[in-house]
């Protein structure tokens, strides 16, 4: 049997084991967070009652009436609720990710561009990145309100800090010989950044990108906790008010799925971008990736 297949089968077995443990816990732990709301909901509840209950978060449309407007709970309404709230959260996440990634990377590259750019960027960026992120959420809420802009900027800030640090380290570790080689062949500074710095730094930046993907999901959900009208984070918070652990658990499972898809897509893209790396190094990179 191939090693990759063995890894995959082992992963599936561990996941199935965890699901079984959860089911056992749901039987052994009889507590309720509210009357009729189990603290540890079993899969038979999550897959039926809980999923159906998510249709409460559908605002109506596409021929499916909102529950708040007298419509019945339906699986179609639940699916639409999941899709629309996932879309809102993803839009905030990916906009913030792109913005934060671009700003963090640009600032990180600016540190190595010239002495003056280093003077202007390095110290302020180092100070900004040390702010405790979660403590900044209320400030972002007050500055920008519970809006798309506020949530997105918060995600961008969280991601940008990681990108900045990763970019500074990655550029610093590029062997000088590649830059010297490019210079002796007539490359100007822009050409050196485009054809030497960016590809050479990517393998090391890769771990920062993976870290920032995880951070982006944390940041967007944390930002949605405070005042957002839609989004998966908002469903978790409103479920908490009523003690709906099962809904919180189901939304968390969706988040887990989305994060896994995001990692898998990035992994595929980065494998293509690091095709040139020696095989042992590429394998090592993948093994240490979260």
């Amino acid at each position: 049997m191939k090693l990759a297949t063995t890894h995959r089968l082992a992963g599936c077995a561990v996941t199935a084991g965890l699901a079984a443990l959860w089911q056992i816990a749901s039987i052994l732990i009889p507590y309720e967070s509210a009357p009729g709301e189990p603290m540890v909901p079993g899969w038979q509840i999550v897959a039926t009652h809980t999923f159906l209950a998510l249709s409460d978060y559908w605002a109506g449309g596409f021929g499916v009436a909102a529950v708040a407007q007298g419509g019945a709970r339906t699986y179609a309404g639940a699916a639409l609720a999941v899709l629309s709230n996932s879309w809102d959260t993803s839009l905030r996440l990916f906009t913030g990710l792109l913005l934060g990634g671009a700003v963090g990377l640009t600032c990180g590259l600016a540190v190595s561009w010239s002495i003056w750019s280093r003077r202007f960027v390095a110290l302020p960026a180092q100070i900004l990145r040390t702010f405790p992120m979660m403590a900044l959420i209320p400030m972002f809420q007050l500055w920008f309100g519970a809006t798309f802009l506020g949530t997105t900027l918060f995600v961008a800030f969280a991601v940008g800090s990681i990108f900045f640090t990763g970019a500074v380290n990655a550029v610093g570790n590029i062997p000088d010989i590649y830059v010297d080689y490019a210079r002796t062949q007539g490359a100007n500074r822009i050409q050196i950044y485009r054809s030497v710095i960016l590809p050479a730094m990517f393998p090391e930046l890769r771990s920062s990108i993976l870290l920032s993907l995880g951070m982006a999901w944390t940041a967007v959900i944390a930002a949605e906790f405070l005042g957002a009208q839609t989004g998966l984070g908002q469903i978790i918070v409103s479920s908490q008010y009523f003690g709906y652990v099962d809904r919180m658990f189901l939304v968390a499972l969706f988040l887990l799925l989305y994060a896994a898809i995001t990692y898998a897509l990035f992994e595929r893209a980065s494998r293509r971008l690091t095709e040139w790396m020696p095989r042992e190094a590429a394998t090592r990179e993948r093994l240490v990736a979260p």
Binding site: Q185, A187, S195, A200, W276, M277
Partner: protein, 260 residues
């Protein structure tokens, strides 16, 4: 024409402890156009620093350096450099490496690929143009580096112990590749090595450096093409004895002379 001139060039470094080190001391040198000059010397004698100065990678502390009376103020594709360590970009395929300099200079894609293919063929790598550097051996990577520098048509070719880490056979093959290409283009060459035999096989002239200074400068009149057997000729042996003495191997020379 590409005459390289150095006048009273000094290069002083500050070590991390704060001490000043004079890597190149008051070096004056003229390398005539089309001349193949090898610089030899013990480790730390300043030969690589001298090459980096001519490449424009580091500015001289004092003195003047020029190519055809144009001052050297930084790196230029007119002064191509083959490094001691592997410098081939690992993220570019062989052909993209060879055409990189041409791309930087704005040569259109079809033309630069044609030139790159031609040089890859000339160094014996016509069949690996789409390979990644990780798929090539050390000798093949050096061939890519040589093809890259020649494809960029430099007027001066600078080589910093390019074949130092290669095995004997590969080194001899690459000498031939280099001499063939140089025979066609006749660039001015400054080649740094610590290998006396390599210098004798390649050079029109050998410069010996010690302690940052030039201590010997001799023309090698051996007929070309030279072979390993050429090194056994009396004229070659005489040169070699002097060069080895400069490198602190005088005792070895006497020992060899005394042996039957």
């Amino acid at each position: 024409m590409a005459e390289v001139q150095l006048r009273n060039v000094r290069q002083v470094f500050r070590r991390s402890g704060g001490a000043l080190v004079e890597a190149v001391s008051d070096v004056s040198l003229t390398i005539r156009a089309h001349e193949f000059v090898c610089v030899i010397g013990p480790s730390g004698c300043g030969k690589t620093t001298l090459l980096q100065l001519v490449a424009g990678l580091i500015p001289a502390t004092s003195g003047q350096m020029s190519v055809d009376d144009a001052a050297i103020v930084g790196p230029s594709p007119e002064r191509g450099l083959v490094f001691q360590r592997d410098s081939v970009f690992p993220w570019m395929r062989a052909i993209d490496n060879v055409s990189y300099g041409l791309k930087c200079r704005g040569v259109d894609k079809a033309k630069r690929l044609e030139i790159a293919r031609s040089y890859l063929r000339r160094v014996g790598l016509g069949d690996v143009e789409t390979s990644w550097p990780r798929e090539l051996s050390g000798g093949m990577l050096k061939r890519v580096a040589v093809a890259t520098v020649f494809a960029n048509s430099p007027r001066v070719l600078l080589m910093d112990e390019p074949f130092g880490a290669l095995d004997y056979v590969t080194k001899l093959q690459l000498h031939q590749v280099l001499l063939d290409l140089w025979g066609q283009h006749r660039q001015t060459v400054l080649f740094v090595t610590h290998d006396v035999d390599e210098a004798m096989l390649l050079a029109d002239r050998i410069i010996v450096m010690k302690g940052g200074r030039i201590v010997d400068d001799r023309s090698i009149g051996l007929a070309r093409p030279r072979t390993v057997e050429s090194l056994a000729m009396p004229e070659a042996i005489a040169h070699k004895e002097v060069l080895l003495k400069h490198l602190g191997l005088g005792a070895l020379v006497q020992q060899q002379a005394a042996s039957p």
